[in-house]
């Protein structure tokens, strides 16, 4: 009896050691991609795998902060990630990003000029544009009978328990700052405290702070008003025609999500190949069509159905967007933002 236990244990140990040392046992190169949830057409990944005979290891995150921490501290190495403007700025500052070899990305020429050479990454040395959009209010015409044109409506007690906010600190604090008429990149402690008070005042009216669930909740008419990113609004309106998207008159946030190559990735060339692939017009069009967000790839527009290209939500004219701001990295003020957000969330 004892001998057989010994025997099985040794076999087991040998097997474990064997498994650990050979890894997954496949010779295919793997590409680790780290993207927002619900932010790509899954078939596109399969097609890339097939065409380049590689394996794509695809992971998702819910907020920029979340992504930043796991790249910086997670002990994981990603080859491609999709951060937004202010986060790209921070990652460049902290030396977390690899310079991109533009010669390897000829499809960069498909990107519209206005999305290139932006403040957070002059000359696009570190990032290649993917999607862009605005932040606004989506509301259900049957449930809201006031005119929705201002952030103020999110503080209207009439809609208590029917308001959804984004579970994302930058975006929610920005809404309060804009309501008060301040810059959403405020670096003034007093202004930020005021924004905090506003959000705490609003909290009893808020139904929930959500991420991607917002789509199900608004389409299912569980709530009347929600703060959303424009692309999600497109996807929601597609499924429920009672919904309408508005950019408040106080101004809003214009944002850009770009593709970057984090340092520590093992496959820089393949990563560049992937970024180039994503910017093929037909591939960019498929992603755009699938997720509803607005592409930065002007050649992709030819492949998209009319109703998307002409959509005022996805592709608003400049005068419709009104006064916009692009997020900047708060740098040393980040701690204040973190603190404020925590206090709002912990408030009962």
């Amino acid at each position: 009896m004892k001998r057989s236990i010994k025997y099985f244990l040794s076999i087991g140990l040998i097997m474990i050691i064997g498994l650990l040392s050979t890894g997954c046992g496949s010779n295919k190169a793997t590409l680790n991609v780290y993207n927002w949830g619900d932010y790509i057409d899954p078939d596109v990944i399969k097609e890339f795998e097939k065409e380049f005979n590689v394996k794509v290891n695809y992971n998702t995150f819910a907020t920029n902060e979340d992504m930043y921490v796991s790249i910086k501290k997670g002990g994981t190495s990603y080859d491609v990630a999709f951060p937004s403007d202010y986060m790209i700025e921070r990652m460049i500052d902290e030396g977390l990003l690899e310079k991109i070899n533009k010669e390897k990305i000829p499809n960069l020429s498909n990107i519209e000029d206005r999305f290139l050479d932006l403040d957070f990454d002059p000359n696009n040395e570190y990032s290649v544009p993917y999607m862009w959009g605005t932040v606004g209010i989506i509301y259900n015409k049957n449930l809201v009978d006031d005119v929705v044109d201002s952030w103020n409506i999110l503080w209207n007690e009439k809609y208590s328990g029917q308001i959804l906010m984004l579970d994302s600190q930058r975006d929610s604090i920005a809404v309060a700052l804009k309501k008060l008429g301040y810059s959403m990149n405020s670096r003034d402690r007093k202004e930020l405290e005021e924004a905090k008070e506003e959000l705490i005042k609003q909290k009893p009216l808020v139904y929930a702070y959500v991420g991607d669930e917002v789509k199900d909740l608004m389409v299912g008419e569980e709530a009347a008003l929600a703060v959303v990113w424009s692309g999600d609004a497109v996807a929601m309106i597609r499924e429920n025609e009672n919904l309408e998207y508005v950019i408040p008159k106080e101004g809003t946030n214009l944002w850009f999500d770009n593709m970057v190559i984090p340092k520590g990735g093992k496959n820089k060339e393949l990563a560049e190949e992937f970024i180039n692939f994503m910017n093929r017009p037909e591939i960019a069009a498929r992603n755009t069509d699938y997720i509803g967000y607005s592409t930065t790839n002007y050649k992709a527009l030819e492949y998209l159905p009319e109703d998307i290209v002409n959509s005022k939500v996805a592709y608003p004219a400049d005068e419709e967007i009104g006064e916009v701001e692009i997020f900047k990295d708060p740098k040393d003020f980040l701690k204040v933002y973190d603190e404020i957000w925590l206090e709002i969330k912990a408030q009962r």
């Binding site: 244990l9 008419e221 912990a346």
Partner: protein, 278 residues
């Protein structure tokens, strides 16, 4: 007793996956230093001091009171349930236990998500309520929903240990009590209940621990408005990236759990027939 060599793999396992991580959490909780590995860490107790701020103590208090409430409810619901199951004939009893355990084969997250569609404003329950001619109820994103999620998810952890103690109680003890003239209430209060205390203690620990540290239930059913201690730890690790403060909170939470275990262990001085689950 000399340890057999067969125990070495387990010792190795415990060192790698229990001792080392715990030591790291402890190390992080009493140090500070942005990055650059262990060399750059500096000793400090600021992480613990920071926790004494009322806003964090509030979070701790809310977590503990919610966990206590859910433990009490699972006990009140679970004990009679365990008794009912334990009284059945073995064959039916096994089927009932199986039915109880099967939902646990499903992913915990999935089961919690399912409640979203049940409790939502246009969910199944409200659908029935409206059909019956009442106004829709506010069922989700509040204290009650979080509590419900905890009770629902952790109920088996209360029922199973109590059940396993109850079926091991020697029937002749109960018969003896009845022969001596004790009525049903007396038999329960003087024989069955005292003998089942080890199971209750195990149940309480096994419900209280996950309930006080949960972050998924409070986020999904609380709609992100409920900052419990688990959410605070999650936030520090995943979003803010302050592993030192996050570790300090974890240590404080562990201290609380150890404290409750010590208290419950005191009640457990009778040392029953070894009916503990582990």
């Amino acid at each position: 007793m000399r340890m057999k060599w067969t125990s070495y793999p387990y010792i190795l396992w415990m060192i790698i996956f229990i001792v080392v991580p715990l030591a790291l959490i402890l190390l992080f909780s009493i140090t500070t230093g942005e990055e650059g590995g262990i060399k750059n860490l500096q000793f400090t107790l600021d992480n613990f001091k920071r926790f004494l701020d009322p806003k964090y103590l509030d979070v701790l208090w809310i977590s503990i009171s919610l966990a206590l409430k859910s433990t009490a409810i699972t006990l009140l619901l679970g004990y009679p349930m365990a008794m009912i199951i334990a009284r059945e004939k073995p064959k039916r009893r096994n089927i009932m236990i199986l039915l109880f355990v099967i939902p646990m084969w499903m992913n915990f997250l999935l089961r919690t998500y399912a409640w979203l569609t049940l409790l939502g404003k246009n969910g199944l329950i409200n659908y029935i309520v409206i059909k019956l001619g009442f106004k829709p109820l506010n069922l989700i994103y509040n204290d009650l929903a979080v509590l419900l999620g905890m009770v629902y998810n952790f109920l088996p952890f209360m029922v199973l240990p109590i059940y396993s103690v109850l079926i091991k109680i020697d029937k002749s003890l109960i018969e003896a009590a009845e022969d001596l003239g004790a009525n049903k209430i007396k038999v329960f209060s003087r024989v069955t209940f005292p003998l089942s205390i080890p199971g209750i203690i195990t149940g309480i620990t096994m419900v209280f621990m996950p309930a006080v540290s949960t972050f998924v239930i409070s986020r999904l059913l609380g709609g992100g408005q409920y900052m419990l201690i688990g959410n605070l730890v999650e936030q520090q690790f995943l979003w803010v990236g302050d592993w030192h403060f996050g570790s300090a909170i974890s240590i404080i939470m562990m201290a609380f759990i150890l404290l409750t275990m010590a208290i419950t262990a005191k009640f457990d001085s009778q040392k029953g027939e070894g009916g503990r689950l582990w």
